[in-house]
């Protein structure tokens, strides 16, 4: 049988600490929760193919990302990743950031890049008036929306969110949590949320995996 999430990551991070995290779930919106240093972000990076695990497997909605002797490059995994602090490209405008993954090759999209998908997501996230602005001039909420739009424009098979609310102060966190909940609800994409904050669970997750010291807690 195929689960939405069938993940097992083994990675030796230091002589004292080996990540060995296995979980399977059919929840569309799954949260990995645990204290910082528990290995949540390392798990997410391994699923995204950005670090090389020493063993295990990753299957998402029936697609094998790694396991059984093969491992897809991060470029081939078709995962939308929203990083902590969003990792927007500071030298590109909002429009160029969102169009980044639509243009392959060695050149960035032009400042006036026209693509239906870009226009759609700019509109969807109410970013059209800010399309020609660079990320430094955006508010926290606007940055989050750009990061989401950039991750979604390539029609990923799943969304990975790494502590998307951690860097924000409490009132903004509440507001953006509600906004994020609305989006993850509407998108109908498998979504994996990494968080250390129990308050995120009620609104953002259908099921929870608790992580401590590199292991899943029963």
């Amino acid at each position: 049988m195929t689960c939405t999430w069938d993940i097992h990551i083994v990675r030796r991070l230091s002589p004292q600490f080996t990540l060995d995290l296995a979980f399977a779930s059919d929840a569309r919106r799954l949260a990995l929760i645990g204290p910082s240093g528990a290995g949540k972000t390392q798990t997410l990076l391994a699923i995204a193919g950005l670090t090389r695990p020493d063993g295990g497997h990753a299957h998402i909605a029936g697609s094998t990302l790694h396991g059984g002797g093969k491992a897809l490059a991060p470029q081939q995994r078709k995962l939308g990743v929203v990083f902590q602090d969003y990792a927007l490209f500071p030298h590109l405008t909002v429009r160029q950031n969102i169009a980044f993954g639509l243009q392959m090759g060695w050149r960035n999209p032009a400042r006036d890049v026209q693509a239906p998908a870009v226009a759609r997501w700019l509109d969807e996230f109410a970013l059209t008036p800010l399309a020609d602005v660079r990320p430094e001039r955006l508010s926290g909420g606007q940055r989050q929306r750009v990061a989401l739009a950039r991750a979604l424009v390539g029609e990923p098979r799943a969304l990975l969110l790494d502590e998307p609310l951690a860097a924000l102060d409490a009132p903004l966190r509440r507001r953006l949590r509600a906004e994020l909940a609305r989006w993850t609800d509407r998108l109908a994409l498998p979504t994996l949320l990494v968080t250390h904050d129990d308050e995120d669970l009620a609104e953002l997750a259908d099921a929870v995996v608790r992580v401590e010291d590199g292991r899943v807690q029963a």
Binding site: A73, Q75, G80, F89
Partner: protein, 229 residues
């Protein structure tokens, strides 16, 4: 008079431009490797690349003579294979200037690459862009200021190269006699007016370059470039 200044100036510019071009390619590659990869001997490589800054240029010139001379394995191979003679040629002067000024590119380039958030490169990878694209579209645009500042410093250093160039390429007027060597020869020959003209010329070029570097590089990059100078 003017002609006597023009010939060494043109030669100096040719040698310095070639040396800087070499430094740019080699220095950016090494700076990137030092910033982004972990390998055995990384610190040793860094120390070796800093040597041209602390050793007297004559010592660097001696090393190059030993390495590139036709009696040496490498120099012999160059001559046998390409018919390339580096000792007492302008190409030899290019090599000497490039080696001596290489740290001026490597250090700022390394600092600039280290200043680029690795998360941005990771984000680019998850968006499907291959490694060369990530370098051209994310890493380089965010590091180019530091690299360019270092390149200008390397050019300025190559313009003024004396010791290693004299050791490797000698002082053949019109062929390897660069401005700095021409100044030395003019003073030795008692041609004070000639020496003064050449000195003024070189000084003006250097000041213009340093002003350009100052404009380009600000903040941490400027600090790294100054630390390198």
């Amino acid at each position: 008079m003017l002609d006597a200044a023009w010939v060494p100036l043109a030669l100096t510019l040719k040698v310095a431009l070639w040396a800087t071009a070499l430094d740019l390619v080699v220095g950016v590659a090494i700076g990137y490797a030092l910033a982004r990869t972990r390998f055995v001997g990384r610190n040793l490589l860094d120390a070796l690349l800093t040597l041209p800054m602390v050793l007297p240029p004559t010592v660097m010139g001696y090393y190059l003579l030993v390495l590139l001379g036709r009696q040496s394995a490498f120099g012999g191979w160059l001559f046998e294979t390409f018919g390339l003679r580096l000792i007492f040629t302008w190409q030899g002067a290019v090599i000497a200037a490039a080696v001596v000024s290489l740290p001026f590119v490597v250090k700022p380039a390394r600092a600039a690459f280290e200043g680029v958030d690795a998360r941005l490169e990771q984000a680019a990878r998850t968006l499907g862009v291959h490694e060369f694209g990530v370098f051209c579209r994310v890493t380089l645009p965010l590091a180019w200021r530091g690299i360019l500042a270092g390149t200008l410093l390397a050019f300025a250093r190559a313009l003024g190269e004396f010791g290693a160039t004299l050791m490797v390429a000698g002082s053949v007027p019109g062929q390897t006699q660069t401005l700095s060597i021409a100044v030395y020869e003019a003073v030795q020959a008692g041609q004070d007016a000639q020496a003064a003209t050449l000195t003024a010329l070189l000084s003006v070029v250097a000041v213009v370059l340093l002003l350009a570097v100052g404009r380009l590089a600000r903040g941490p990059v400027a600090a790294a470039a100054r630390g390198g100078a």
